[in-house]
């Protein structure tokens, strides 16, 4: 009831958004309304999760095509994702109340924002393929319109075109996947699909198309190309939702198909997903390391985190197929935990980026700096977000990586030789991605918030104070990063209830040692307790402060920076994002991105500056998409001729098509 009312409210709000016009108060009211609706949906999701396993009865509404009905149902999996979506949605909406004032293109955002939220929630509630795909398109198109909201920039238009093509491709693949599951009879409800028995080839194609369709929306390599273009083009609170949440809705689709509707996915797909996830994780973070645009950096980091979560899902499939439901549950709990975590800290970081951009008007790392002193709230919240995404204890990002690693460490126990040798390699990829993510966020945070301002706009950031609604949203999200890290057992217990129907096993991650200790397999297998680390760490911190102050002096003197006596007042002497990642570019750039550095030195005696230029090539774009684009253009050029045929030519073509079709029918009807 609550959920239905909230969804209807979202649609209404969209209408209000259309007629809002130029009045600022209406835009703020629409965002406030979205916040109320999202909080109601969040409560709906949480109540369902709290009520224990089991789904609500399916609701049938006379929507859509006349001879079809729309089916909706809420079970634990959709309730979990509803919590994920609506927590971030509530944060983004409240943030939007203050943020939309600074937004020049707000009239092209407000109508679509509620529709976007509606689409995402409806995907989660859909209980038939038709509703699922319609809502999926709602979500895609509403976000596409918001990507285009700043349509005057050519870069955004380019991003929108690529996004539209990839979204169409994704939906096409999902449509095929559902179509194959529905079979010739067209049983399009999820309940019927669960019962369906699939032959070998369709079963393979269902999984392939689901991975391609959901993977392209989630941003898995090599289908990620649209993501770092489209996500940053939207206004920041929409970017936060696209990156933090829409990718999760895509993963929901993947989980729904692989673990619920299809059910019997062979381990090879688990292995394939682990490899895709590992490659996405490493490539995503490497891309992020070399970005100069703050929002694009965050978008690439989404590719990494989706990869990490998919490693967990793939491992879950492999364990499930090998008859190890407990370990499958562990891997899935790890993957879902990461999905929850990423939605929180990525939303937080995008919102912080939005605050930075609205205070300085600058997105490039090379024009920022010194903002922690000028924007202490945003800076502190972003610090927590950066530490959490770098998987540092005691924050939430570490717990999910720990769970996935624990599951991976059991991976070599799988009976297949490919897994025995492959799992350590995926483990190394995951570890490498984690360490590189820490580097990436030390770089991003250090360049944006620390040091001295690199532009006048950054130096004057304190002239544009961040509105209270934006500050409080970021503070709450930062607090959630700490809580979900410090109380991991509470979260894993809730998640194991979600995982139970998918693996057919109730599995408590904390079974062995009790409440604050996570001990997934057994108490001797390795354990972790964020709660204890927080308590002991705080105590040691206090002792360190008392010791240092008690044994010595507390005096502090402010002075100029020492810098080994090289005092320089120009901020250009600082390290930049480019120089920070230069050593890593030398290590990874040459082989992955074919990076070339050229130095132009002036002749001795000349006064002109020396220049260092770097050229990097995107291997996925050059290796995969360029050939496809060229092939499509080639074919289009050939097909183009058909537009200019004579009437006779067209008639001939129609005739030959008819003959061909009749031949096909004749051939199919032969016994």
């Amino acid at each position: 009831m609550l959920i239905a009312a909230s969804l209807a409210a979202l649609v209404l709000l969209a209408v209000v958004g259309v007629v809002a016009g130029g009045r600022e108060i209406t835009h703020r009211l629409v965002h406030a309304g979205c916040a109320v609706a999202s909080i109601a949906l969040l409560i709906g999701g949480l109540t369902h999760l709290g009520a224990g396993p089991g789904g609500s009865p399916a609701i049938v509404l006379p929507l859509g095509l006349p001879w079809m009905a729309a089916h909706f149902r809420l079970d634990n999996l959709s309730a979990l994702f509803m919590v994920v979506v609506d927590l971030a949605a509530a944060a983004a909406s409240i943030y939007g109340i203050g943020y939309c004032r600074h937004l020049p293109q707000v009239r092209r955002v407000t109508p679509f924002f509620p529709l976007f939220l509606f689409g995402m929630n409806a995907v989660l509630l859909a209980d038939d393929a038709f509703m699922f795909l319609v809502s999926w398109e709602f979500m895609s198109l509403a976000s596409w319109l918001m990507v285009l909201s700043d349509h005057k920039s050519a870069e955004n238009r380019h991003a929108a075109v690529i996004y539209l093509v990839m979204a169409a491709f994704g939906t096409f693949c999902l449509l095929t996947s559902f179509g194959l599951m529905a079979g010739a009879g067209g049983a399009y409800t999820f309940a019927a699909m669960r019962q369906a028995e699939l032959a070998a080839v369709p079963a393979f194609l269902v999984v392939l198309m689901a991975v391609l369709g959901a993977g392209s929306k989630a941003g898995l390599v090599p289908l990620h190309v649209w993501l770092p273009l489209a996500h940053p083009a939207a206004p920041s609170h929409v970017s936060a939702l696209m990156s933090g949440v829409m990718t999760k809705v895509a993963l929901y689709g993947l989980i729904r198909i692989l673990f619920d509707l299809h059910g019997e996915v062979p381990w090879e797909w688990g292995a394939a997903l682990m490899v895709i996830g590992g490659v996405s994780a490493v490539l995503g973070v490497l891309y992020a390391l070399f970005q100069d645009d703050l929002k694009r950096l965050l978008a690439y980091s989404t590719v990494e985190n989706v990869g990490v979560a998919v490693i967990g899902l793939g491992l879950g499939i492999a364990f499930k197929d090998a008859g190890e439901p407990a370990l499958a549950a562990l891997a899935l709990v790890g993957g879902l935990y990461h999905i929850v975590n990423h939605s929180i800290f990525k939303t937080l970081l995008f919102l912080a980026a939005g605050a930075v951009i609205s205070a300085t008007g600058e997105r490039r790392l090379s024009g920022l700096g010194g903002l922690l002193n000028r924007m202490p709230w945003t800076g502190t919240a972003a610090l927590i977000g950066a530490a959490a995404i770098s998987a540092l204890p005691p924050l939430n990002g570490f717990v999910s990586e720990w769970l996935i690693l624990q599951a991976l460490f059991k991976g070599p126990g799988l009976p297949h030789w490919a897994m025995k040798f492959g799992v350590p390699v995926v483990g190394a990829m995951l570890a490498l991605a984690g360490a590189l993510a820490a580097t990436c966020f030390v770089r991003a945070y250090g360049i944006v918030f620390l040091g001295r301002p690199r532009s006048l706009a950054a130096a004057q950031a304190d002239l544009h104070p961040t509105p209270a609604s934006m500050r409080w949203t970021m503070a709450v999200l930062a607090l959630l990063c700490i809580l979900l890290g410090a109380l991991p057992v509470t979260v894993t217990d809730a998640l194991s209830a979600v995982v139970q129907p998918m693996t057919g096993m109730h599995f408590a991650v904390s079974a062995d040692l009790g409440w604050p200790w996570l001990s997934p397999v057994s108490s001797t297998r390795g354990s972790y307790s964020g709660t204890m680390l927080v308590m002991v760490g705080t105590a040691l911190f206090a002792i360190a402060v008392v010791l240092a102050h008690g044994l010595g002096t507390r005096r502090v003197r402010r002075a100029d920076a020492w810098d080994c006596g090289h005092r320089e007042d120009i901020p250009e002497t600082q390290y930049t994002g480019q120089s920070f990642s230069q050593p890593l570019r030398r290590v990874f750039g040459g082989s992955v991105f074919l990076a070339r550095e050229t130095v132009e030195m002036p002749e001795p005696g000349e006064r002109s500056p020396a220049r260092l230029s770097v050229r990097m090539i995107d291997p996925v774009w050059v290796g995969l998409y360029d050939p496809i684009v060229r092939a499509i253009n080639f074919i289009a050029d050939r097909v183009n001729r058909m537009q200019f045929l004579t009437v006779r030519g067209y008639l001939l073509m129609m005739f030959s098509t008819l003959v061909f079709m009749l031949l096909v029918v004749a051939w199919r009807q032969q016994p």
Partner: protein
């Protein structure tokens, strides 16, 4: 009650011992180089002297610069509290396994690197950039060592690995040897020792760790230095405990076994510290861009250690 006492002893043992171990390394190095060298307790005096001096903070620094030494020190300290030194019977040991230990050291590194960038000087950024380069290869290598140890022993908790090694069911394993080699390489890198970094360098351009803490003074510098000393002792204790655990007190041990464990722990620490000094005297520092070869080697050794387990099983 007795468990609590052991835990408290563990909390202060490594911190109290760390400057002495560092002083010992310096003394052995000095003797090997033909100098008399300072007394091994000199680091205590240095730290005390630094604590007495006022801290100078740059105008452009933020609160992070002043908080970082405390966070760094307590993160390393927390890691040191959780590893077995003289006994494996620690109340707090289940709070973190080897993965969490690696991550706790990562917390210290994260804050130190950020502090290096906070003042906005060229050297701070240089140090932070190079430190993160080293870490982004050393940390996965350390995790691969954990992976192979957990495959051999069935656990990622140090106390369980020790119990497994002590139970004698591990023969001379190729994997253990490879893991040890990788762990030593990681330890060298994480502690900023030669050939990765020179802790006593005076040339800013060759600094890594020192470049990050260049702006620190007074008690802040004392805490940063102390964190480095605790980290060195922690790694020596970890290598000693995982690969040569003999003598360590097991759960249920009496007072004599505890005393023996303590003695053995001290002997191992100083022996490993001497070995480090000999190793450092014998080789030269690497160029920055050779790090990747060295640490990539460690990562591959760790990976090989896991894969060799199955090769040896299959043969």
């Amino acid at each position: 009650m007795i468990e609590l006492l052991i835990e408290v002893a563990q909390v202060f043992l490594v911190v109290a011992l760390a400057p002495l171990v560092t002083g010992w390394v310096r003394l052995v190095k000095a003797r090997l180089q033909g100098r008399i060298g300072a007394s091994p307790i000199q680091p205590y005096r240095d730290l005390y002297r630094l604590l007495q001096q006022e801290a100078v903070v740059a105008h452009s620094a933020s609160w992070l610069f002043r908080a970082a030494p405390y966070v760094t020190f307590s993160a390393v300290w927390l890691a040191a509290v959780l590893i077995p030194t003289f006994t494996t019977d620690l109340v707090l040991a289940p709070a973190a396994d080897l993965i969490a230990l690696v991550a706790l050291l990562g917390v210290a590194r994260f804050w130190t690197a950020l502090a290096g960038m906070d003042v906005g000087t060229a050297f701070g950024g240089l140090g932070a950039s190079r430190e993160m380069l080293i870490a982004s290869l050393a940390e996965p290598a350390m995790l691969m060592v954990t992976f192979s140890l957990s495959l051999v022993s069935g656990s990622t908790a140090p106390s369980q690995i020790i119990a497994f090694v002590l139970s004698g069911s591990v023969g001379i394993e190729v994997s253990m040897g490879l893991a040890l080699a990788a762990l030593v390489m990681v330890a060298v890198a994480e502690n900023g020792r030669i050939p990765i970094d020179n802790p006593s360098t005076h040339l800013e351009l060759t600094m890594v760790h020192e470049a990050m803490v260049l702006e620190y003074s007074g008690r802040h510098l004392a805490l940063m230095e102390a964190a480095g000393m605790v980290r060195l002792t922690l790694f020596l204790a970890l290598i000693g405990a995982l690969f040569a655990p003999w003598g360590i007190a097991q759960p249920g041990a009496g007072a004599t076994e505890m005393a023996l464990g303590l003695g053995v722990f001290l002997a191992k620490s100083f022996a490993l510290a001497s070995a480090l000094a000999v190793f450092e005297t014998g080789i030269a520092k690497m160029r920055v861009f050779r790090y990747a070869d060295f640490l990539g080697g460690a990562l591959l050794l760790g990976l090989l250690a896991t894969i060799f387990l199955y090769v040896s099983e299959a043969v």
